[in-house]
């Protein structure tokens, strides 16, 4: 075990559960909504930039980053670029937002103000993820 593994528990990545708004539909027509996203590393963000597809189309970076950090989608444990490419646009936007929240803000809650009473409260944007209350 390297020293950095002792610091981070690299064998046990920090993962956040989520529920997709629509869900990934696999080739058999089954819908997968519950998933896990792990925290990103410097390697996750540096490595895709050398990919020829990203040089041709910068938007493809999102597909590569999500395929590296989404570790499970329902029964699908091998999330590939093909899986991410076949997500609904709303699910892709949801995962992009979740990625930014957990890696920049370190939490999945968003501050929301009630339009009626202007009370400020927190909403977990990851949805009713398993194990969460």
């Amino acid at each position: 075990m390297s020293r950095s593994e002792q610091v981070t528990g690299a064998t046990m990545p920090t993962e956040y559960p989520f529920v997709l708004p629509r869900g990934y539909v696999d080739p058999q027509g089954r819908v997968h909504r519950e998933g896990l996203m792990r925290l990103a590393t410097a390697r996750d963000e540096i490595a895709p930039q050398a990919d020829p597809k990203v040089r041709e189309n910068a938007a493809y970076l999102t597909v590569l980053l999500l395929s590296r950090t989404v570790t499970r989608l329902g029964d699908v444990t091998d999330v590939t670029t093909h899986t991410v490419e076949n997500l609904f646009a709303s699910d892709l936007a949801f995962l992009q937002d979740l990625y930014r929240r957990i890696n920049q803000e370190g939490r999945t809650e968003a501050e929301v103000t009630c339009p009626s009473c202007e009370h400020l409260f927190l909403v977990d944007v990851a949805g009713e993820a398993p194990g969460e209350s």
Binding site: S2, R3, S4, E5, V7, T8, A10, P13, T14, R38, L39, A40, T41, A42, R43, E45, I46, Q49, L61, T62, L65, Q96, Y99, R100, N103, Q104, G106
Partner: protein, 59 residues
């Protein structure tokens, strides 16, 4: 969707590798919050070394 620029990431990776003598490979695999924490701690140590009379840094 990147959270950091590549230049900033390399700067941070080399900073940690230089001060702690870890391989760049192992620093590349630190999760963002862990890498940030390590950088903060190195900064605290350097501050203490450069101003030893100020006593322990409590912040």
């Amino acid at each position: 969707m990147l959270t950091y620029t590549a230049d900033r990431l390399w700067e941070e990776v080399v900073y940690v590798a230089y001060y702690l003598h870890w391989s760049a490979d192992s620093v590349l695999d630190l999760e963002h919050p862990a890498r940030q924490r390590v950088i903060e701690e190195i900064g605290r140590i350097n501050k203490r070394i450069s101003a030893p009379d100020d006593g322990p840094d409590d912040d």
